[in-house]
């Protein structure tokens, strides 16, 4: 496909805050891939993106991406919150001006959600400012004047719990996009004879995966995908599960619906949880139906609840909505990037911890913790320079460097969220 794939954000990114403070919705992992990776795997080209202005430099997108419309080829505009990319097949050979609209609208107003569209550069120029400003509703209204719409309701990320809800299905769907030369059927691996496997035909491993027996890989309920990771003895992995390159599973119970992103360390028990990347939950403790961002560290015995004793549905604080009933019986916590939780912290179901928060010395953490919060018994604002200094140290341990653009993103988010910490 020659079309330029262009990811845009609409108003809906707000209902995914604080997870989307430091990344676009297209960079949230759900299933094996993020949307950006999924499109790359499906269409063989790295999609371009128009992120929020303060994220542009850190994402290498440029502050004012004029070049995106400079090629004389159609533009496939894709909403960053899209999960199920099968609907894009409707656009691959569709006439210019075809617009996919979903009636699933998490902004609570307007005429629907702009899911994707196939546009000429000229038509894209007519909504360029709208998509730079995350005004999906305005862009949709304009495209409906000039194009023709297809009503479709693909799975999208509307609220944070959709990540957890969709993860198992996305892992299963993403298996078809795996590179068959990178992931081989498990029984082709030289060490396969030592593993205890159920439904081995649904287990795919990287040739460099280091899996030490005794280990149980149970793919009866869904596929298991293991990259160039290390699985230590006495681990139990129940599909659907994806474990990315560079991660370490330390005798953990990794239950169905879990994705472990690149370079993570996982111990204890984890279930139906997405760990974005570079995060540690290395010790005992349980995380279920949760999302952990990048560079998160969880102390020993820190645990989240994912089920109320009353078996009632769990409420979550959502930006712009306040407390929202998720309608889910099982829901854990949502930890944004750079969150650090000390030892023995207990989190209620539906807890949301903001970017860069450092929580310790508390038995039960509050349900909603603003970004850049420091403390436990008493909370204070985490000084941004100290927070960045710590983040640099943490990243250096994984041979990563925080560049100035990334540090600027954190500073920007710190300023943006200042009012959230006023009540401390």
């Amino acid at each position: 496909m020659d079309d330029t794939i262009l990811l845009f954000e609409d108003e809906g990114y707000r209902s995914l805050l604080p997870l989307t403070y430091t990344r676009t919705a297209a960079d949230i992992r759900c299933g094996i891939f993020t949307l950006r990776e999924r499109l790359h795997a499906r269409f063989g080209q790295q999609p371009a993106a128009i992120p929020r202005e303060y994220l542009a430099d850190a994402l290498g997108a440029g502050r004012w991406p004029l070049r995106l419309l400079s090629r004389n080829v159609p533009i496939m505009l894709v909403n960053s919150r899209l999960l199920d990319i099968a609907c894009l097949e409707l656009l691959t050979n569709a006439p210019i001006g075809t617009v996919i609209v979903s009636d699933d609208n998490n902004t609570g107003d307007g005429q629907g959600t702009l899911v994707a569209a196939r546009l000429s550069p000229a038509l894209a120029s007519a909504i360029f400012v709208d998509i730079i400003n995350q005004q999906g509703q305005r862009a949709l209204a304009e495209l409906q004047r000039f194009g023709h719409t297809i009503a479709h309701r693909p799975r999208m990320l509307n609220f944070m719990w959709d990540i957890v809800e969709a993860n198992a299905e996305c892992i299963t769907n993403d298996v078809s996009l795996l590179n068959p030369t990178t992931f081989i059927p498990a029984h082709h691996h030289p060490d396969a004879a030592m593993w205890h496997m159920q439904a081995p035909e649904r287990i795919f491993v990287h040739p460099n995966a280091h899996i030490e027996s005794p280990v149980a890989l149970d793919a009866r309920e869904g596929p298991i995908v293991i990259g160039a990771a290390r699985i230590e003895p006495f681990s139990l992995i129940q599909g659907p599960v994806a474990i990315h390159d560079g991660s370490l599973i330390s005798g953990a119970r990794v239950r169905a619906g879990t994705t472990i992103g690149p370079v993570c360390r996982i111990g204890g028990e984890i279930e139906a949880t997405v760990v974005q990347a570079f995060s540690n939950k290395h010790h005992d403790g349980f995380f279920g139906h949760s999302y952990l961002g990048e560079w998160v560290n969880i102390g020993a015995m820190t645990t989240t609840s994912d089920l109320k004793n009353t078996y009632g549905s769990i409420r979550v604080t959502v930006e712009g909505y306040g407390q929202v009933d998720s309608g889910r019986l099982k829901l854990g916590c949502f930890l944004a990037d750079h969150v650090k939780l000390g030892i023995g912290v207990h989190l209620n179901g539906g807890s949301v911890v903001g970017t860069g928060a450092n929580i310790f010395g508390v038995h039960f953490a509050p349900k909603t913790i603003p970004p850049f919060t420091w403390g436990g018994e008493r909370f204070r604002e985490y000084q941004i320079d100290r927070m960045i200094a710590v983040a640099r140290k943490v990243m250096a341990r994984r041979k990563e460097t925080m560049n100035e653009a990334q540090a600027d993103v954190l500073r920007h988010v710190f300023q943006m969220t200042r009012s959230e910490r006023d009540s401390m």
């Binding site: 440029g62 070049r67 995106l68 419309l69 400079s70 001006g97 038509l123 400012v129 000039f146």
Partner: protein, 394 residues
């Protein structure tokens, strides 16, 4: 409540000095109190002091009264100060600067440009000093060309928008009745050297009533503080968009300052023999409005350069004295009392051009490429001239 908190937050860097100042005031008041008490007890005061010192009010209520008035005065002072103090310029504490009694800068202007490719690139440097700059491309042009050219320069705040999603071709009727189109490159054909356009029309079956204009085009014109027409080919880059009624209507209704940047040289086959007034007349004819200002190059052109242009059948577009003898009317611009007005547009003459060496190449015969000295609108000079106009009153 949030507004009050935000306003007071501007004082956060003055908390210590203010607290120290208040403490000083309190100690001062205490000292004054002791002194007055001493004087009151040692001196015999006239009876009027009984009333001045509120002795008819019980002592406790007197204290409460003074406390309330004091707190009220203090709050009013802090509130007033919070509006005169701004937050630090730099996040780095060591480089903090605090401005007292600052004045908010005026909002930067929103600019709309109607021009062709090179003209828009000339003006794009304005993008650094504006709130937004929307360039409406000619209806017959592909927008990719503009994005490709501008992406080389890393322009910010500049967007290019098509007036209609589908290009619409235009054609010109020349003074000899012949019909040509922009793609015919009449300006490079000696056969048309002395010709000029007498009419511009939308091509083929296009009917103006059915044309849907992009919302961004209309909204940006409506919200603009300045609308710049040109620089660029009058008939190829500016007039075509004026043929669309919705755009014409938006331009006429806009309260923005409208500035037309007149061409430096005539274009053979299009504007041969045209004067400044002829150019402005075409804007009035097709746009239905007169620009508020017309920017004219006043720079003396070297005879060498003139000779090159003459060989290509081009002559400078100056404001001829006999022309404004015919067209001078009372200036409406309070700063332009002594300036010339042509067809309702205040003429602003300025040095707008720079001679540059340009390589011309032929796709048909690449071996025929050659370098020539040509005059081009200078981005910095044009931007400066526009900024000068913006500084004028309305």
């Amino acid at each position: 409540m949030l507004g009050i908190r935000r306003r007071l937050a501007t004082l956060e860097h003055l908390v210590k000095p203010l607290a120290l100042a208040f403490l000083g005031c309190a100690i001062l008041a205490l000292g004054l109190g002791y002194l007055l008490t001493y004087l009151y007890r040692t001196l015999t005061l006239p009876p009027i002091f009984y009333y001045l010192t509120l002795q008819f009010v019980p002592q406790m209520w007197r204290g409460v009264l003074f406390l309330l008035v004091g707190v009220g005065t203090l709050s009013a002072g802090v509130w007033s100060l919070s509006n005169k103090v701004v937050i630090p310029i730099n996040n780095d504490d060591r480089n903090d600067e605090v401005l007292l009694d600052y004045r908010r800068v005026d909002r930067m202007p929103r600019v709309v440009v109607l021009s062709g490719g090179p003209g828009m690139l000339v003006l794009a440097s304005l993008g650094r000093t504006v709130e937004s700059m929307t360039c409406v491309t000619p209806i017959q042009d592909p927008v990719e060309y503009y994005y490709r050219a501008s992406s080389l320069f890393n322009f910010e705040k500049v967007v290019f928008v098509v007036p209609t999603p589908q290009p619409i071709q235009v054609s010109f009727v020349l003074d000899n009745g012949q019909r040509v189109r922009p793609n015919d490159r009449v300006s490079q054909n000696d056969a048309f050297a002395q010709r000029y356009v007498v009419d511009v029309q939308l091509d083929g079956e296009t009917t103006v009533d059915t044309i849907l204009v992009t919302r961004m085009t209309i909204e940006s014109i409506a919200a603009a503080d300045v609308i710049v027409l040109g620089p660029g080919s009058l008939f190829e880059s500016i007039i075509p968009n004026l043929l669309i009624p919705e755009i014409r209507q938006a331009l006429m209704q806009s309260r923005a300052k409208k500035i037309y940047i007149c061409s430096i040289m005539t274009e053979p086959g299009l504007t041969s023999g045209f004067t400044v007034a002829d150019h402005v007349r075409q804007i009035v004819r097709y746009g239905g409005f007169a620009p508020d200002y017309v920017l004219v190059n006043a720079q003396r052109i070297d005879t060498d350069v003139q000779r090159i242009y003459a060989a290509a059948n081009q002559t400078p577009v100056y404001l001829a004295p006999e022309e404004y003898e015919e067209t001078v009317v009372q200036a409406i611009d309070r700063d332009a009392g002594s300036e010339v007005v042509v067809e309702g547009a205040v003429v602003v003459e300025a040095d707008l051009a720079t001679a540059v060496v340009q390589l011309t190449a032929s796709l048909d015969d690449p071996g025929k490429s050659r370098t020539v000295r040509v005059l081009r609108h200078d981005p910095d000079k044009v931007a400066a001239a526009i900024r000068n106009i913006l500084r004028r009153g309305t």
